[in-house]
Structures are given as structure tokens and as C-alpha cells.
């Protein structure tokens, strides 16, 4: 049986190409294509040579795996060099990408804060319910659970570039509910908040300020990731020499 048709060889070549696709992500398209084409050719030549040398399929697969593993550090160094080069040649594109990563990290952290706050207030109100059996908080607990679910869905939607705007919108709605029901729940679940609400005339202000600030923040995030109409962009790079772009 031909080595190229064995499951071991196919699995190992798939691993090599998957790893290459991972470390070439976000890199200049020409450099990426060159690397992937060169690896495809290498893997093909490797199996042709292995067959002519009479190597067993498992030996070939092991050899390819070792070549991949031993070269990983160099692959990552190559990636770093490519990104450094891209930063020098196209600082605007690089800055946009870096800002996008920072926006995602901040939005995710704030969204996680909303979820943690909601979960905390839910545990307080549930423990109040368990101790007192006061069913007046049952509906409140249900509303908190629903808002928490919505905010969790929002966090998950932030995971994909295409659904980020929807995630930010979901968080914008969910945070208003979480803060509203959360403060309400703390009225039952926290003696300190209860006392503050009863003795301060200004108590609703921090709540509304928080809802407003978070609403504006998530609205801005939704606008940042709002899908734009795709337009043709002119190519700024010069044609490559002899089919070699760099």
C-alpha cells in the first residue's frame, strides 16, 4: 500500500498544515501562501522519497511529526519576524489590529465583571430564599437568571469577529437588567446595601450612573464591531519579481 494513502501519513500531514495555518494567521497573504505551498511540496517530496527508500508508513509519519515538533520554535520566531516587518511596512493596519485586540480584551473583561456581579447577587438572594423561605424574591431570582444567561450569551458571541457586535448589543441589554435586578436582590441579600438604600437619599444615583456608563460602553463596542459593507481596496504592493513577493 502506498505510504501516501495511509491514515498515519494523512493525519500527520494534516497536523503539519493545521499548525502552519495557525502560525501564519494574520501574516501577509503572499508570505503565508509561499510557506503553505512550500510545506505542501515538502510533504509530497518526503513521501515520494520515503517510498523509494522503502520506509514503513509509521516511520514516515514519525519522521514528519519530529520535523514539525523540532521546528516549532523557529516557526514562532519566523512569525514574530513577519509581524515585525508588517508593523514597519504598514503601521496603520498593525495599529488597527492591535486596537481591536485591546478593545476585545476590555469588553470581555467588563462583560465578565457584569456576569460575576450578577452571579454574586444571585447567590445572595438564593441564600436569603433558603434561609427565610420568602417567596417574594422568586420572580426576582428568575429575572436575574435570565439576565445572566443573556450576558453569558453576549460573552460567547464576542468570541467570533462576525458576531462581536451582536455580543456587545446583548451585553448592553443584559447589563441594565443585571444591575437593576442585582441591586434589588442585594436589598434582600446584603445588610450593608439594605441600610445604604434606606438611609441615603441618593442611593439610586450610583445604580443609574453604572447602568448608563455600561450602556454607553457596550454601545460603543457594538459600533466598533458593526459589520461594514465590503468595498474593494486598491493593492498598494508592487508586483512580485519572478512570482516571489518578498
Amino acid at each position: 500500500m502506498s505510504v501516501a494513502r495511509t491514515a498515519d501519513y494523512r493525519r500527520m500531514t494534516a497536523h503539519v498544515l493545521r499548525w502552519a495555518a495557525w502560525y501564519t494567521r494574520g501574516i501577509d497573504r503572499q508570505a503565508t501562501n509561499d510557506r503553505l505551498d512550500e510545506l505542501t511540496s515538502d510533504l509530497y517530496e518526503h513521501v515520494v522519497w520515503a517510498e523509494s527508500a522503502g520506509l514503513q508508513p509509521d516511520e514516515v509519519a514519525r519522521s514528519i511529526r519530529r520535523r514539525r515538533l523540532r521546528g516549532m520554535v523557529d516557526d514562532l520566531r519566523w512569525r514574530r519576524a513577519q509581524l515585525r516587518e508588517a508593523r514597519v511596512h504598514d503601521p496603520l493596519e498593525f495599529r488597527l489590529r492591535r486596537n481591536d485586540n485591546a478593545a476585545l480584551a476590555i469588553t470581555f473583561t467588563v462583560g465578565l465583571g457584569v456576569v460575576v456581579f450578577g452571579a454574586f447577587t444571585l447567590t445572595r438572594v438564593l441564600s436569603y430564599l433558603a434561609v427565610t423561605g420568602d417567596t417574594v424574591v422568586t420572580a426576582l431570582s428568575g429575572a436575574l437568571v435570565l439576565s445572566l444567561l443573556l450576558s453569558t450569551v453576549g460573552l460567547i458571541l464576542l468570541g467570533w469577529r462576525r458576531t462581536r457586535f451582536a455580543g456587545a448589543l446583548a451585553l448592553m441589554i443584559a447589563q441594565a437588567a443585571v444591575v437593576q435586578f442585582g441591586f434589588h436582590a442585594l436589598l434582600y441579600g446584603s445588610a450593608a446595601v439594605n441600610s445604604f438604600m434606606y438611609f441615603s437619599e441618593l442611593w439610586p444615583l450610583p445604580k443609574y450612573a453604572l447602568v448608563g456608563a455600561l450602556g454607553l460602553f457596550f454601545a460603543a463596542a457594538a459600533l466598533w464591531w458593526w459589520p461594514s459593507t465590503r468595498t474593494a481596496t486598491p493593492t498598494l504592493t508592487s508586483p512580485s519579481e519572478e512570482g516571489d513577493a518578498r
Partner: protein, 135 residues
């Protein structure tokens, strides 16, 4: 990461140039896997890792020691295989190789070749790079 001394080559660059010049002398050019095989034939060790090999080739191409061109698709299609990226050692690369060999000294180069020629992969013919032929 190791820093390059001014005017000097990394060991892998020296080996690539040495094996590349030998392959080029017989075939006119060389490609990645042929080079990996040539490097391993003379060291008796495993084939050079993908990352190490292609990073070194890219760096040498960028610094003008090598030139590369993609093989014509028709030639690859005729043999029903992926296109090869063909490399050639430039005049500058050959000069750098000779300068490095001189800097290392004849004994060191011979010692390197002896060390590399310690083992041979069974079933694979040697390329026959002469110890004194290129230096």
C-alpha cells in the same frame, strides 16, 4: 536567539550554502526537501525540521545569499505533484561561503565535514560533496 557576528554565517547557513552549491552544480537549482535530504545525508541525522529549514532559507533569500523562483506550474502538473520553490546560490552567497570557510580555517571546515560525514542514511546515495572542492 543567537546573534550573528558581522560578516559571518550561522552554521546552518554555511551547511545550506555548501550543500546548495553541490546540488546546484548537478541540477542547476535545489528545493527545500532536496536540501533537507542532502543536509541529513551528510550528518547521518534526521531530516532538518520544517521550521528551521524554511526560516533559514527565507532569511538567506532576504539577505541576498540565495535567490528563489517558483517552478512553472506546467512542469509540476506534468509530473502530477505540487510546484517546487527552486533556490539558487547567488554570487554573493558563494562569496560569503568562501569567506566563512576561510574564516573557519581549513582544519575546522575539514573537521566539520568529518563530523557531519559520521553516518549515512541507508538506501540513500551520497551527493559526493568534495571536502576541498568548494572551499
Amino acid at each position: 536567539m543567537a546573534k550573528r557576528k558581522p560578516g559571518r554565517l550561522f552554521p546552518i547557513e554555511f551547511d545550506v550554502l555548501e550543500c546548495g552549491l553541490a546540488l546546484q552544480a548537478s541540477d542547476g537549482s535545489f528545493y527545500g526537501f532536496a536540501l533537507a535530504r542532502a543536509l541529513s545525508e551528510h550528518s547521518g541525522t534526521e531530516l532538518t525540521a520544517h521550521g528551521t529549514l524554511y526560516k533559514a532559507l527565507g532569511r538567506m533569500k532576504d539577505s541576498g545569499l540565495l535567490e528563489s523562483t517558483w517552478e512553472d506550474s506546467a512542469a509540476a502538473d506534468a509530473e502530477n505533484r505540487p510546484r517546487r520553490r527552486l533556490y539558487t546560490v547567488t554570487g554573493e552567497g558563494e562569496k560569503a561561503y568562501r569567506a566563512e570557510a576561510l574564516a573557519l580555517g581549513a582544519d575546522a571546515v575539514a573537521e566539520r565535514r568529518r563530523a557531519r560525514a559520521g553516518g549515512v542514511i541507508p538506501g540513500v546515495p551520497l551527493l559526493g560533496i568534495d571536502a576541498g572542492g568548494l572551499a
